[in-house]
């Protein structure tokens, strides 16, 4: 499944990024950056409430497919800028991380 399909099926709001054709192969949930960076897999959807610039750095280094900010967690202005520079796709949902992960597991 690609990011575009995920966005449409789960009604996610696109905050930045345009590579929506990228394939998603899994999902990882977490807010502690070191934990996420070492455990998340390439092409995972990463569910988190951390919308700061360091999350973008971790997304780039771990090569996740996209970030989904759950519970409408805000994306900081400098994080948005860094994400645009690095082509990181960031989406947002009002659902919590559990609800989102459960919904994603039905799709992939």
């Amino acid at each position: 499944m690609d990011i575009k399909t995920l966005k449409e099926k789960l009604n996610l709001k696109l905050l930045c990024g345009d590579d929506l054709d990228r394939t998603i192969t899994g999902c990882y949930c977490g807010d502690l950056l070191s934990w996420v960076m070492s455990r998340a897999q390439e092409n995972d959807v990463w569910l988190t409430v951390m919308g700061n610039i360091n999350s973008v750095g971790v997304a780039v280094l771990a090569d996740v497919a996209c970030i989904v900010l759950t519970e409408n967690a805000a994306l900081d202005a400098d994080a948005l800028q860094r994400a645009e520079q690095n082509g990181v796709v960031i989406l947002q949902t009002d659902k919590n991380t559990y609800q989102m992960a459960a919904a994603i597991s039905q799709l992939i």
């Binding site: 950056l33 070191s34 390439e42 951390m50 360091n54 999350s55 750095g57 280094l61 771990a62």
Partner: protein, 140 residues
């Protein structure tokens, strides 16, 4: 490929730049044609060490020496040093302050992650003088 040397400066207490050096190194390794597993291991280890420099030391310098067989990264700071390396190597042990934890750091995974993702890691630390971490990842 000839030997490639890269140098990065890490600013103190600047979380907006944290991760820049490891990001740049990652791109360079990609351009040099290393496989994604090797790149990921180096990127994770260097990111952790870079964040440690920002949190605990007053920044520092990173030097990478890249050959076709091995990527060596030397991270040197003039921070307070590590009083108990064995304790610092324990997963979950962290001395990161509260404001840093609020940013998602301070999981106590920094040094353990560096060890986990490298083939060799050496910590040279002197209290009040600084810490130099040398890590190696072999190109497999």
């Amino acid at each position: 490929m000839e030997e490639v040397r890269l140098h990065y400066d890490v600013n103190a207490y600047d979380f907006t730049c944290a991760g820049e050096a490891s990001g740049k190194l990652k791109r360079s390794l990609k351009n040099l044609g290393f496989n994604s597993a090797v790149i990921r291991n180096v990127a994770i280890a260097v990111y952790e060490a870079e964040i440690n420099m920002v949190i605990h030391a007053e920044g520092g310098v990173i030097d990478a020496i890249i050959t076709p067989d091995c990527i060596t990264v030397i991270l040197a700071d003039h921070g307070p040093g590590i009083p108990d390396i064995e304790l610092a190597m324990k997963e979950g042990y962290s001395t990161a302050p509260e404001n840093v934890r609020a940013l998602g750091f301070g999981a106590g995974m920094g040094l353990p992650n560096i060890k986990k993702y490298t083939d060799e890691m050496n910590i040279d630390t002197v209290i009040g003088v600084g810490t130099t971490i040398t890590l190696k990842v072999y190109n497999k």
